[in-house]
Symmetry: C2
C-alpha cells in the first residue's frame, strides 16, 4: 500500500501556496510530471511502458512522480494480479482536465524550438 510505505512519506505535506497559479505549478511542476500526463493522454500505460516513453527517467524518479500524482488524484493506479505483476496507470478526470493545457505547452514549445536560431 503506497500510502503507508516509508518511500511514500516524503513530501506528503504541500508547501504553502500563495495563489492558484502557484498551486497548479506545485502539482505539475518538477521534471517529469508534464511528460507523464502527456504520455497518458490516450489511455492506459504500464509502468515499464511509461518508463520507455519518458526517455532518461530513472525508476526512482518515475516512481516518486507517480506516487505524488496518485496522491494528488491526477492519475490512478491499477494493479493486475497476474504473474508477473502488471500495474496500469491512467488519468483521472481531474488529470484529463490538464491535457489541453499540456497541449498548449507542447505547441508553444515546438514553436519556440523552431525559432531558436531565427529570432
Amino acid at each position: 500500500m503506497p500510502f503507508h510505505s516509508k518511500f511514500y512519506q516524503k513530501k506528503v505535506q504541500h508547501k504553502r501556496f500563495y495563489c492558484a497559479v502557484d498551486f497548479a505549478f506545485q502539482r505539475i511542476g518538477g521534471k517529469y510530471k508534464g511528460r507523464i500526463l502527456w504520455a497518458l493522454r490516450d489511455g492506459t500505460l504500464r509502468y515499464g511502458e511509461l518508463r520507455r516513453h519518458i526517455e532518461g527517467v530513472t525508476t526512482k524518479m518515475l516512481t516518486q512522480a507517480l506516487k505524488e500524482m496518485e496522491r494528488d488524484r491526477l492519475i490512478s493506479r491499477n494493479v493486475i494480479a497476474t504473474k508477473p505483476l502488471h500495474v496500469e496507470y491512467s488519468l483521472t478526470p481531474s488529470g484529463k482536465l490538464l491535457i489541453p493545457f499540456i497541449d498548449l505547452m507542447r505547441v508553444w514549445g515546438e514553436h519556440e524550438i523552431n525559432n531558436l536560431h531565427s529570432p
Copy 2:
C-alpha cells in the same frame, strides 16, 4: 550588462530536452516564473512592484528568474535613467503567447483548491 555579469553566467546552457513538453517546462518551470508571467499580463511593472506582487520572493530568486526569462525572450527589461533608477519589465510577444496557458492553470488550480476537502 546582465549578459556579461558573473551572476548571469549560471545556467546559460539549457539541459538536454527530449520533447517540446520538456522544453516548455524548462522555460516556465521553477518556483516563480508562472507567477511573474501572470503578474505582467496587463502591462508593465517595475522591479519593486513585481516583488510586492510575488509574495514571499527574495531579491535573489526574483532577479535570477527575471534574467533567465529575459535571456529566453519571455520578458523584456527597460532601464529608465531617472534618479533613482527605474527598471520596467513587460512581456515579449513570445511571453504573451503563454498567458492563455497560465490562465488555464489558474482556473484549474482554483477548481482543485475548492475541491480539496470534498473529493
